[in-house]
Symmetry: C2
Subunit: 597 residues, 2 copies
């Protein structure tokens, strides 16, 4: 009874039509390649690929894990090499890359769809190409023409892998503490020395080369985050003909034993005077790093979503099949020994909580992914600016909220299985273990909340939040005008008002005393998430009532509307609670005596 996965293609189609608004974007050059036929092909072929090739790797890879050999090499689980080869040959990594660099030139939002499918099918496997994308983005943004030419085509095709090397034993969030050092060489290259930990995919057997992007300090740089620089450090130094050449002075010292994602090696990386190439300017590494990180953060939010999706699919199937107890309103399966779990309201609550998250989270995730496209390619400067604002504001929300809820809903899905959920064989506990890392890496969720409250809110005088609130206000107004939508619209209006109140409180109380902002930052992020997902839900509820195109069957549309109602019934009341927590401020927390902790 191993877990299974089916890519949620109909739901993706609904979101692309009604939230992303794909048809209306056809006029934009960036969407030129995204014809209806192309989109349908990507969804269907993508589903076929992940279901047939990737999903079967998930449970065996968790049980087998990766192997670190004495020579420093790392073997991935059986089947990973073949699946990766199929991924490269299928061109799945090139969807949203520019045609000039060998990509397919499709919108980012479609790559985001495929990323969710991949990650649901096997998160540990999907991490390999996922990480390369952050490295590609950084080289694309800051590389010299020669660097781009040397690395990007190989990395985009997937022939070469990419990693991010930030963390050191003494230094996680606080990058000012980095001790890795780079010394300039006469030929313009650098010699990089240091130890990095928690490097996902730092060494493996999937690709002929691995391109490490490594943060380090240059001589005379200050001991703060502003002193760090970013370097390209290839495992094999590329030769002039583009093939991998001399082995560089770096190695994987060991891999960690950890709670989950066993199929992806978490490496200790040792750089011993490795040949390195500066990416961008000296002491501007932080800026380049954030290009990597922002892409990665949306990807991590997607991972949280992906684990809840696959876990909830299995929970729903189990609840349909497992016979246990009788409905309170009388037997629903009178000829059987018991009714299916699905008759019990509390089981339905868990499943609908799960759907309200996965479908709402998917809508928000893809809507934010769309902003990546629009920020680069919308028709007017004002639209590009608005898209960039929304992307910036909501990236920490996607990262923190989709991972926190992803873990919670994966846990709930496990709960539906009762005792079987705890047994390895059923696969449910793996989803929880794999989901758990997403709340931690690429900036722990608390850091996301600080980023939101400390940076993103204040940026451009609060312009992003104003843009967002205005959009939500329009959706609310439209909903209030429709009798069937009105209760949902009122719930969203209430949550929006709580968000305004909490924001006002922060403006009045956190400017002078930043601890007040930090203390309530996570509650504020959760409040913003409810409004942002609620905004998607209200739009989807309206679309579910209005869509008579025949694109979706009546049951699908009815289920969509009811899930929207469930979301507002269950999550709506949380808005006031989060706002109250924001307004509690820091006084109690900071008064607590240090030595009593």
């Amino acid at each position: 009874m191993p877990a299974t996965y089916h890519a949620p293609v109909p739901d993706t189609r609904f979101v692309l039509k009604h939230v992303v608004g794909l048809p209306s974007l056809a006029g934009l050059p960036a969407f030129r390649e995204a014809s209806a036929e192309m989109v349908a092909a990507i969804l269907d072929e993508g589903a076929k690929f992940v279901e047939g090739v990737v999903a079967p790797l998930n449970q065996p890879g968790d049980l087998q894990g990766c192997t670190h050999h004495d020579d420093g090499s790392v073997a991935t689980p059986d089947g990973y090499r073949e699946a990766y080869q199929a991924y490269v040959e299928g061109g799945w990594g090139t969807l949203a890359q520019s045609t000039e660099q060998g990509g397919q030139g499709l919108p980012h939002v479609l790559a985001a769809v495929f990323q969710e499918y991949m990650s649901s099918a096997c998160m540990a496997f999907a991490m390999f190409p996922g990480l390369a994308q952050g490295a590609v983005a950084a080289i694309d943004a800051f590389g010299t023409d020669e660097q781009k030419k040397t690395y990007l085509p190989h990395m985009i095709s997937g022939q070469w892998a990419g990693t991010m090397n930030l963390t050191e034993p003494q230094c996680g969030t606080d990058l000012g503490l980095i001790q890795s050092r780079a010394e300039p060489e006469k030929d313009g290259s650098w010699k990089l020395t240091g130890n990095k930990i928690f490097i996902s995919g730092g060494e493996h057997d999937l690709t002929e080369n691995i391109i490490h992007l490594v943060l380090a300090k240059t001589p005379g740089a200050p001991d703060t985050a502003r002193g760090i620089s970013l370097f390209i450090v290839p495992k094999f130094l590329p030769k002039a003909d583009g093939t991998p050449g001399k082995r560089n002075a770096l190695s994987c010292g060991s891999i960690e034993h950890k709670m989950g994602i066993h199929g992806n090696p978490t490496c200790v990386m040792n750089y011993d005077g490795a040949t390195a190439f500066l990416l961008g300017k000296e002491m501007e590494g932080l800026k380049a790093m954030f290009v990597m990180m922002n892409a990665a953060r949306l990807g991590v939010g997607c991972q949280g979503l992906s684990q809840a999706e696959v876990a909830m699919q299995n929970a729903a199937a189990y609840a349909r099949e497992r016979l246990q107890g009788r409905a309170l309103s009388g037997p629903k399966n009178p000829d059987g020994p018991a009714d299916p779990l699905l008759v019990h309201p509390d089981v339905r609550r868990m499943l609908l909580d799960g759907r309200a998250f996965t479908e709402g989270g998917r809508a928000l995730y893809l809507w934010v992914a769309l902003q990546v496209d629009l920020a680069a390619a919308a028709a007017t400067a004002a639209e590009r600016e608005a898209a960039d604002d929304l992307l910036s504001l909501l990236t920490p929300v996607i990262k923190a909220w989709c991972t926190e809820e992803g873990y919670r809903q994966a846990t709930n899905a496990q709960q539906v299985f009762g005792g079987h959920g705890y047994i390895t064989e059923w696969g449910m506990e793996q989803f929880v273990r794999d989901a758990r890392i997403t709340m931690i890496y690429e900036g722990a969720n608390g850091i996301q909340a600080l980023d939101l409250v400390g940076r993103k809110l204040a940026r451009h005088g609060g312009r992003a939040l104003r843009t967002f609130l205005a959009l939500v206000g329009e959706t609310v107004a439209a909903g209030q005008a429709d009798e069937r939508l009105q209760p949902l619209a009122e719930a969203l209006a209430g949550a929006r008002k709580e968000l305004e109140g909490a924001t006002m409180w922060l403006m009045e109380n956190a400017m002078a005393a930043p601890d007040n902002g930090a203390a309530g930052s996570m509650a504020y992020l959760r409040l913003l998430a409810i409004v942002a997902v609620g905004h998607c839900w209200l739009r989807m509820a309206a679309a579910a009532l209005a869509d008579d195109s025949g694109d979706f069957n009546a049951e699908f549309l009815e289920a969509k509307f009811l899930t929207a109602r469930h979301f507002f019934e269950q999550q709506g009341p949380m808005a006031a609670a989060h706002a109250a927590r924001v307004k509690a401020g820091a006084a109690t927390m900071m008064a607590f005596p240090d030595s009593a902790f």
Copy 2:
């Protein structure tokens, strides 16, 4: 850097003094043995025992796990045998057992204290004696004099272990589906045949005998839960001299690979015409089972609490030592490379959320454990009745809420460690994996919520809740009269009012349509938990302000008061949210089309 554990003796002392009110109980016969010196000795010696003997087993036992051999025997991890022997020799299992049966005749609430310490030190190990206690309670309540004489002394001393055998592959919650059968023999014994799964400690090498309590059906019994009977099925049939005799026809077929509690084998048990002895009356097994289960449910709630406690202790220590980033209000450790994590408000929030749960949960858990003593031994019939009512009402709350919050807070403690929290070596991820089972076994949490709303609320015309609300009302009134306590008292008054409103809603809407009760049952349980824990917190806050005995230092009392304030700031606003969820009812959930799940 393995995790460590220190039994929270000062906090236990505070709860025993101010919540349990131990000194004032000295006049009751049941508390005769519980002198101040005896209590201090149990706390201090208990702490010493678990810290020195039990805690060192935790991480190694998780890594090694149990081993099932071809002959059906099961080996526990290295060190378990010796530690168990020390547990038996120390008489730790006999604390609250009656002196007539070889126990020490102490109040149950003291055994509950020790149970928490044991479980924090090593939950998988603590399960072995913990399970025996449920079996002891059932034999004590329903056994014949001969059965009591044969089994209880050996089981109470710990020389023999005990298990509960309920679950079968097709049958978890719904015991009407049990297929195990018992046939009567001429000598008054029975032959029992069937397969049981998920039997914790079903086979192991710690004791010379294992006494299984097994649910099965007798000939002609109906296929409902009312048809089941409970049997004593010893691994070795006791001889007349009280030593283990002939091997019974039962065996452990395999042990499960599972998410956590690796040190405790989860067994498939096969009964092949095993000699069995009816416990209590035929077809009254359910009643006997609930005696076992109710004891076990408090114990499982305690497990949830215990994992949060040990995890949060380690998180606090890490937050004090780990240097990362600077305080928003300026450096607090200017001579060091960075400030400790503890300066960051969001880290404090997580730690204080943890304390608000562990200290509040401990208070509630011990207060409910006290009701076990008072239900049996309070001075008047009215007091005994009130204690039994409170015990009955709050057992599902302890089971479900302490496990749910225990898991959540263990997860938060892991979060404080950042990436290190995900790495096996640090031990934090084990607490999460071990805590996870507590939400599932001994009745999944959803079942606890149904038990609360469907049975416990209605029992005796709602008498238990009225008793509880009256008690809370008295505490609120006392708090409102004290200026320093007033905001806390108002928060509790607000939560109490939400509970009254939600209860009224259930009375009006769930009698005729039980789905309405079931749909909101978990929200109702969480709401009741906030009021129940809040009640303990307000009493503790008042005591922290008033205690000038010198029993506790000023910093401890200040921290206690501030943690109370934190609890009401953070959890108080949740009361209205849960009440709103209760009042949302079942309409949306039940309208959702079955085939769309």
